[in-house]
């Protein structure tokens, strides 16, 4: 592959300044269409559907193991009897995360992506309808979509969520916002997780916060630990406020 001009052939290198003498039956069509258009249209349909139902949808994005499922377990526990929660789990394989959520007594659907690195709007659409068919399903106020563990690819795919939450756990280090500006740039909320581990890792919270705000000045930044419950109040209030605003709309 030729790096300088994007020429797709691995073997030949030629420059593209020469005119292309294709024969006269050739035809050029100006398309000018985004490759994200199909996904974006489906995402909009999802969002409209959630709006109609009065449900808030959140897309959780992080590296593998940053604590998404644990956070959901504790959140469900804390909001039991107050807010009706549903979960769509995206995982490359297995339904272990879904089993953990199901054990908390809320409807959950596992989407195995067959190795794919992100969820898209069509999968989310399918997932939501499967969720509605879960035994004992009641309309949810709050839908969590746990994306596939990966900080890169999910950023390019709108699922129809209302807010996008990026998680970075303390052991991962503070430089993630600088390394993944697109992910932080499209997010609404940044959660620093596993703060109980701060004494054992070099993670200057203020530096991470500053880097994140550099990529996205509107980001809401929160810190919490699922293990100790520190910082949970702010997180739960954030969820409550969104659900309340949606009901009032």
């Amino acid at each position: 592959m030729c790096d300088s001009c994007g020429c797709p052939s691995p073997s030949h290198t030629h420059d593209h300044d020469h005119s292309h003498d294709h024969d006269h039956s050739s035809k050029t069509v100006d398309v000018h269409a985004s490759l994200f258009a199909a996904n974006d249209a489906m995402a909009k349909a999802n969002r409209d559907h959630f709006d109609e139902l009065g449900a808030v949808a959140l897309n959780l994005i992080s590296s593998p193991g940053s604590g998404k499922t644990t956070l959901l377990e504790h959140t469900i526990e804390a909001l039991k009897g107050e807010i009706k929660i549903g979960v769509i789990e995206g995982d490359p394989e297995t339904d272990r995360d879904a089993e953990r959520i199901r054990a908390k007594g809320v409807p959950v659907v596992q989407l195995t992506t067959g190795g794919a690195c992100h969820l898209d709007a069509a999968m989310t659409h399918k997932g939501f309808h499967l969720l509605e068919k879960e035994p004992g399903y009641e309309p949810v106020d709050l839908l969590f979509i746990e994306n596939v563990g990966n900080l890169v690819c999910p950023a390019s795919f709108d699922l129809g969520e209302h807010e996008r939450v990026v998680l970075v756990s303390v052991p991962e280090g503070p430089d993630k916002p600088a390394k993944y500006p697109r992910t932080f740039g499209t997010a609404h909320t940044f959660l620093i997780t596993k703060t109980d581990l701060l004494p054992y890792f070099d993670f200057p919270v203020e530096e991470a916060r500053g880097e994140a705000l550099k990529t996205n000045p509107n980001l809401k930044v929160m810190e919490l630990s699922s293990t100790t419950g520190d910082g949970f109040d702010a997180w739960l209030d954030y969820l409550r406020a969104m659900v309340k605003a949606k009901k009032a709309a």
Partner: protein, 115 residues
């Protein structure tokens, strides 16, 4: 490698276009890949090579890639900087960190040449 699924979607679209225009061969495809659209140019090219080699219609298709510029506006003094590569670390005028990007966040199929 979400680039692979994007290329798959692109080829579906190209097949539709070829059918509409009674074409059997795609000569060239011009893509505009924004520097902040979340697509790695090398991965996109790689996906394109792999998938194009699997279909007669795309065997000799040339992939032309254009990289548009992104305009970064300083949130404090309004100074604008244009870049098609790296995001500037800070405003060149006042050292402000908060820069708002505009443009360069899309992946666009611009032009297709067929016969």
């Amino acid at each position: 490698m979400h680039e692979m699924s994007l290329v798959q979607g692109l080829f579906e679209q190209l097949k539709g276009l070829a059918a509409e225009n009674n074409s059997t061969k795609v000569l060239s495809v011009t893509m505009e890949i924004g520097p902040i659209c979340g697509v790695v140019v090398d991965s996109f090219q790689f996906g394109f090579e792999i998938l194009s080699s699997q279909e007669e219609m795309f065997k000799n298709t040339e992939l032309i890639i254009e990289i548009p510029e992104v305009t970064y506006t300083c949130t404090s003094c309004g100074h604008q900087e244009v870049s098609a590569g790296e995001r500037p670390d800070a405003c060149a005028k006042c050292d402000e960190f908060f820069l708002t990007p505009s443009g360069g966040d899309d992946l666009i199929l611009k032009r297709v040449e067929m016969e």
